[in-house]
């Protein structure tokens, strides 16, 4: 029988893969993809708890707000990445060290 634990394990795996993506990639767009994986794992957790534990729809409404914030985040982040590409001609995050003293 499929239970809450199955969804939590899938969500934990997605979360750790997202962490891995954020830590290892040098390309800014790849790092954004990792952030999307992390947000999806959080959403999966919220919806699973909403079904198995809470018994109401508050978890799903939270997930909708997370999707809204993710959309806003990715739009602003890509604007920053494009602006960085225009200034530095690269999206390698190691090269964005202008603030380093």
């Amino acid at each position: 029988m499929i239970g809450l634990g199955h969804y939590l394990v899938i969500s934990a795996a997605l979360f750790s893969l997202g962490i891995m993506c954020v830590l290892t990639r040098k390309n800014a767009v790849s790092v954004l993809m990792g952030v999307e994986l992390i947000l999806n794992s959080a959403n999966l957790n919220l919806v699973a708890f909403s079904k198995y534990a809470a018994g109401n729809l508050n978890g799903q409404v939270f997930a909708i707000f997370i999707i809204i914030v993710a959309a806003a985040e990715v739009a602003v982040a890509l604007a920053i990445v494009l602006s960085m590409y225009r200034m530095l001609r690269t999206v390698n995050l190691d090269r964005a060290d202008t603030l380093k003293g």
Partner: protein
């Protein structure tokens, strides 16, 4: 065939699709492969939402993530590389410590999950959620709803401002 067995097979299929394509996103060297792996991850998560009885959220996931965010990311990939450069590779670094950290995070999460006695409300019949979510958004969550709309407006204006070409 027993319907419960069938639903388990379908569940494990979508779980495998989700995790395998997420692994493609993380470990593929090509940015385009990563983006298409992300496509299948989003589809898999939407299928898991359907399993959880969240029909409206599954549709939202498809429309916003696949139709919006993934397209934006692909734009990002295409606009930040020269188009004749077909093998859009990305460099990786600190792979070994990251793998260790990934396994540690996964282990701690699963361990914490196993040792917690989760309250289980028992299986319920899935019902259509769209009307109930709409009522919740307009009654209990009206303030976050309005704040989210203002946030989207700010993000729209801010993104346009950031990428605007400055007047020389």
């Amino acid at each position: 065939m027993d319907t419960s067995l069938l639903s388990q097979i379908v569940f494990y299929f979508f779980a495998a699709v989700t995790l395998a394509s997420a692994a493609v996103v993380v470990f593929s060297r090509s940015l385009i492969y990563s983006a298409f792996g992300l496509l299948f991850t989003f589809f898999g998560v939407a299928a898991l939402y359907v399993f959880l009885g969240a029909d409206f959220l599954a549709a939202t996931q498809l429309v916003i993530y696949v139709g919006g965010i993934l397209i934006l990311l692909l734009f990002g990939v295409m606009l930040t590389h020269k188009l004749y450069d077909l093998n859009l590779k990305t460099e990786t670094f600190q792979v070994a410590p990251s793998v260790l950290l990934m396994l540690a995070v996964f282990g701690v999460l699963v361990l914490a999950m196993m040792q917690t006695a989760w309250y289980n409300a028992g299986p319920r019949q899935p019902e259509p959620t769209t009307a109930a979510i709409g009522t919740l958004l307009m009654k209990d969550f009206i303030l976050p709803f309005e704040v989210a709309s203002v946030l989207l407006l700010i993000a729209l204006i801010g993104a346009a401002m950031i990428v605007r070409r400055r007047a020389e």
